[in-house]
């Protein structure tokens, strides 16, 4: 007996507006077939029928001749809607656009054309084939097991993969990498002897317009090929990659490409052979080029065996130091995949200066939908506002391109938060992160409030509930400010990494303070923060273009929320907000817990308005979120009271 799988943002009710109308689908091809199946399903459910031939229909979905791309046009007049697209993918996205609009799709409106701003909208699954002794089946996974792998084997249950593909298509995602960027022994073999298992997955994803990618080991020519080197400039190595690519494409003709984490946290890479990252990436790219494949080369390179005593090394600088000088050296089918911040998916980081530093390189921006540092899907934390800030940031200053625009060259990538959990994401409200990621990858300027509203309408179908407005406002209340709330009760003012070592859940103020990971805050009895200024610190601030370099360089102009990322200041330092740093710490930590308490109450009040299973699961998560938020509040406040000796101005309890 299988568990019931949550329908996420495609509950049956979401199909009513389509299914209760006559629909016609014109065209041929795999993806048009998918659209036709979708329509048949909706109509079968709500009593109307698919019409054929040239019969007029309420909704016409039409593949136009010629053209390319994933866009579509929607025309609405006289209660009829026509979607036209040049490709099956465009028609599929147009169909899901109609689903999102619901009844409104059939109200008169001017014609509108939609095209994705980014050609590559990708999920990276950090799924292991074997269960890793420390990281488990899914590295940093908080949603059960993997959708693809189980205990060393392909899961086989491809039905679920197909349903997953459908959900992703409905929010615009068109690429998936199916294994962890940390490539262990079994995972390495997916590239060669086990490519058939990847092909089985690709077959299921293809019908929803999703191309499959594979994370590979840079050492594959040695590990799998039996060569004595993986030197990217060695002819035998290049030949090995060429043959490997040929075999991959024989199995998966629309294979997307390789994802590579090289010379990073112990993974092999070109440094071992005295070669640059460009040499390394280009060797693989050469093998993929004949087939239209892409190499996603990750820029997450730093010294993870740093000596904490060494104040001259700054992990934040590492990626820029490594990659900025390589601009222009990468092949056309190499994408440099850059984490959005310079460290590692903390709750608050500045935008990585790497993103704007390689104008002649295709750059993809990597986000983390899986909530490694943002509550691990036990805390409600809607990440879209953070992502929007990143995507709208202009590395070159006012008038220069935004991060979203720059990512147009390479794509937007998120580490997936989905697994075999019945709710897909452990915390049902974390589905919104997956959904919003896809939508932002389609349109990086999309408005958070609108995305949230859209997701609420689809997922919770308020109109079908007994109190639509209370449901909508309740959901907005618990998710709208949830990232800000999370930030309040965790590490303050951009300082980051006050988490428990290893699993990264819950507070440990000094957990990473004397570690080799390059993650320090230097708190002492007088103050806290990392001086990354050019004048007196590590010089990281100077990696930005002028406008931002100047902004971050000075304590006076650095935004409050990033102050401790860029500067070491006394506890008595007065923020732009007018509060001292120490009082800000106390205040935000008390506020953050109060906000969780309030959200929990709001959620409780929604009982009866949402599906009982969802309500129960989220209620249970709020219990844990509140417990953990209190732990954060008390440990952070106690630590800083002990360190500073400054009492809370409001006399609240600090233990």
């Amino acid at each position: 007996m299988g568990e019931t799988i949550d329908p996420a943002w495609l509950p049956d009710e979401a199909l009513r507006a389509v299914g209760a109308r006559t629909v016609r689908v014109d065209g041929d091809g795999v993806l048009v077939g998918t659209v036709r199946d979708e329509v048949a399903r909706a109509c079968g459910m709500f009593g109307e029928s698919v019409v054929g031939g040239s019969e007029p229909a309420d909704l016409t979905l039409r593949l136009a001749e010629g053209g390319s791309g994933e866009g579509f046009t929607l025309e609405r007049a006289g209660r009829r809607a026509v979607v036209t697209a040049s490709t099956g993918a465009g028609l599929l996205y147009g169909y899901f656009h109609v689903v999102r609009l619901g009844k409104a799709a059939f109200a008169d409106a001017p014609a509108e054309t939609h095209r994705p701003a980014l050609a590559l909208r990708m999920l990276d699954h950090w799924d292991n084939v074997d269960v890793h002794p420390v990281m488990g089946q899914v590295e940093r996974g908080y949603a059960g097991g993997s959708l693809f792998w189980q205990n060393g084997r392909a899961r086989g249950e491809l039905d679920r993969v197909r349903v997953y593909g459908r959900l992703l298509a409905a929010c615009g995602i068109n690429a998936i990498s199916v294994n962890n960027v940390n490539v262990h022994a079994s995972e390495a073999r997916l590239l060669t002897g086990r490519i058939g298992e990847v092909a089985d997955i690709a077959r299921e994803l293809r019908v929803h317009g999703i191309r499959t990618h594979l994370a590979v080991s840079f050492a594959a020519p040695v590990v799998l090929g039996g060569l004595d080197t993986a030197d990217p400039l060695d002819g035998r190595v290049r030949e090995w990659w060429r043959q490997a690519a040929a075999r991959v494409y024989a199995a998966i003709p629309d294979f997307g490409g390789f994802v590579v984490k090289a010379d990073s946290e112990g993974q092999p890479g070109p440094f071992a052979y005295g070669r640059s990252h460009a040499d390394g990436a280009n060797a693989l790219a050469g093998a993929l080029a004949p087939y239209g494949g892409t190499v996603h080369w990750r820029a997450f390179v730093y010294d993870h065996r740093q000596d904490w005593r060494d104040r001259t090394t700054d992990r934040a600088r590492a990626a820029h130091d490594q990659f900025a000088p390589l601009d222009g050296q990468f092949a056309d089918n190499v994408v440099l995949q850059v984490k959005h911040g310079p460290i590692d998916f903390q709750t608050r980081e500045p935008v990585s200066p790497v993103i704007g530093a390689l104008p002649r390189t295709r750059v993809a921006v990597e986000l983390q939908a899986t909530q490694e540092y943002t509550g691990q899907q036990r805390h409600a934390c809607a990440l879209a506002p953070m992502w929007s800030e990143v995507l709208r940031f202009r590395p070159g200053g006012e008038g220069a391109p935004s991060v979203g625009e720059i990512a147009g060259g390479g794509g937007l990538v998120a580490v997936s938060n989905a697994g075999d959990d019945p709710f897909w994401t452990g915390h049902p409200l974390a589905q919104f992160n997956l959904y919003a990621f896809g939508r932002l990858a389609w349109d990086p300027d999309a408005d958070f409030g609108q995305l949230l509203a859209e997701w609420i309408e689809l997922t919770f179908q308020p109109e079908a509930s007994s109190d639509p407005e209370r449901l909508r406002s309740g959901l907005r209340a618990v998710l709208g400010g949830s990232w800000a709330t999370y930030e309040k009760y965790t590490a303050p003012l951009g300082v980051g990494f006050m988490v428990q070592p290893g699993h990264h859940y819950g507070p440990s103020v000094e957990g990473y303070e004397y570690s080799p990971w390059g993650t320090y805050h230097f708190a002492d009895r007088d103050g806290i923060g990392v001086d990354r200024s050019r004048a007196t610190g590590t010089g990281y601030a100077a990696q930005y273009e002028k406008a931002w370099a100047e902004t971050y360089e000075s304590v006076d102009t650095c935004p409050d929320e990033l102050l401790l990322f860029f500067h070491h200041v006394p506890y008595g330092h007065v923020l732009h907000s007018g509060r001292t740093v120490i009082q800000h710490i106390y205040d935000t930590h008390f506020e953050g817990v109060e906000e969780v308490e309030a959200a929990q109450q709001v959620w409780a009040s929604l009982g009866g308005l949402v599906r009982p299973g969802v309500h129960a699961r989220v209620s249970e998560r709020y219990e844990e979120q509140l417990r953990c938020a209190r732990e954060w509040r008390d440990q952070i406040n106690s630590y800083f009271l002990r360190a500073s000796g400054v009492p809370d101005a409001h006399g609240r309890t600090i233990h």
Copy 2:
């Protein structure tokens, strides 16, 4: 091909004095047979022969009629030695006494009689049958795998167990518990369906006078017996234990008894049924009594889910609070097994007040030979000086019995540090901890210097080396003060638990500060330590008898090395040594590292004087010890400089 197993303190050369002489063994029985085999082996090696009948011999080992106990008498005259004992065990101990004496055994001397001060001299193996996902094959084991179990099964290689038994007999140990006190599913079944595997081990140990014990689950009647309760006052439960004991003794007639960790760190116990620990222990004791078996009931009971915010609960108090009121309620064949300190085998703790608090109860004192908190057998740390301090401590004050005397009622127990490592203990010098434990269990007043000398002579056979005096003095230098050195570079002044959470290796000043484990130091910008006085603290100090309660109650009389265990003081507090607390921290941490550097150099100079394999392994360990000691020094010093703001008086580098 098996690895070569290190001979530890019984290298062939140690048998020369016996083997090069004529020897006669008189008597019958299993253990006399063992002595006979030993003699035959020694003589076979060094050319002399075992003589029979009434022939005179250089060494006569004679079983006398009547009598009991494990003692023996050695008479020496005219270059001949005669060992007389009433039991085979006594004769075996007498034989190894002769081996220890070497040539000196045959020099004229007055007759001497030796008897063990403690009847029970026991090793607890925290060995798991299954590999535990977190703790591995041996919980807190740093010497490879288990000698008994491997991946869920008995190892089968019983030859090694027999060699182990021989080494233990040579230092006086006469009991072993063969599985972890945390009894998981497979381990529980050793008591019933898998008792045959235990019997196989017992057979090998028996020939060296060692009785086998088993750690059992208090919930066995439920888990194994299918009962709906493990209530110790329930007749069915008692009957289940009776039948279980009967089956155990059918398989192992000289079975020693059960070891029980109940109501402790998640293990089941009598509290679930509203019964006392005396009820629980007595139920099991009743089942064992007909066969002469003993229940070792551990006193390690505390709340391991404490809230760090709760300043009223003190883990140090827990065992005394629980067990002192139960004095007189335990059956005769129950031994209350008490850790030597009130917390958990820290480098420095006061002696547990429980040990002297139950005059009408048999008490065993538990030590930890495995170096969980003392360097995990990567650091050289000879623990005998710590153990001697414990054993000589007089809980009732001057004139009252010592801990060693009190333990005469129940025994001395150590958590074993041995595994399937070729050197037995990972760090070859950690063999001394095993040896010294056995010898102190035989004679708790034994002198550390003499034990060390004795072990050096046996293990390293200096006379056979090219420079006996340099070898002796070198070994004394590296081990003699090694515990003091370790204490210097780790947690200061008795404060304890500044270790990395989970594995407990290496420094983390705040690693346990906000944990549920009841292990706090309360360091802030002004001072550090736990107020356990009666007047202003948790009252723990008042659990001692008057003399000690008064000594510990006052900052003025509390010994420096325990100051922070009993008191919270400012960093500027002046110790009896004349130094401030903060300067003591800096000084000892610099000194500790210097002492490790010096020890490493001494060890390096012994190359050529010790077996090459031993020299190489110890050299490798010193590399790690020095690295780790520097890490301790720098983290501890940095932490306290940051907290206190007080610079080092000598201007040394603090990062």
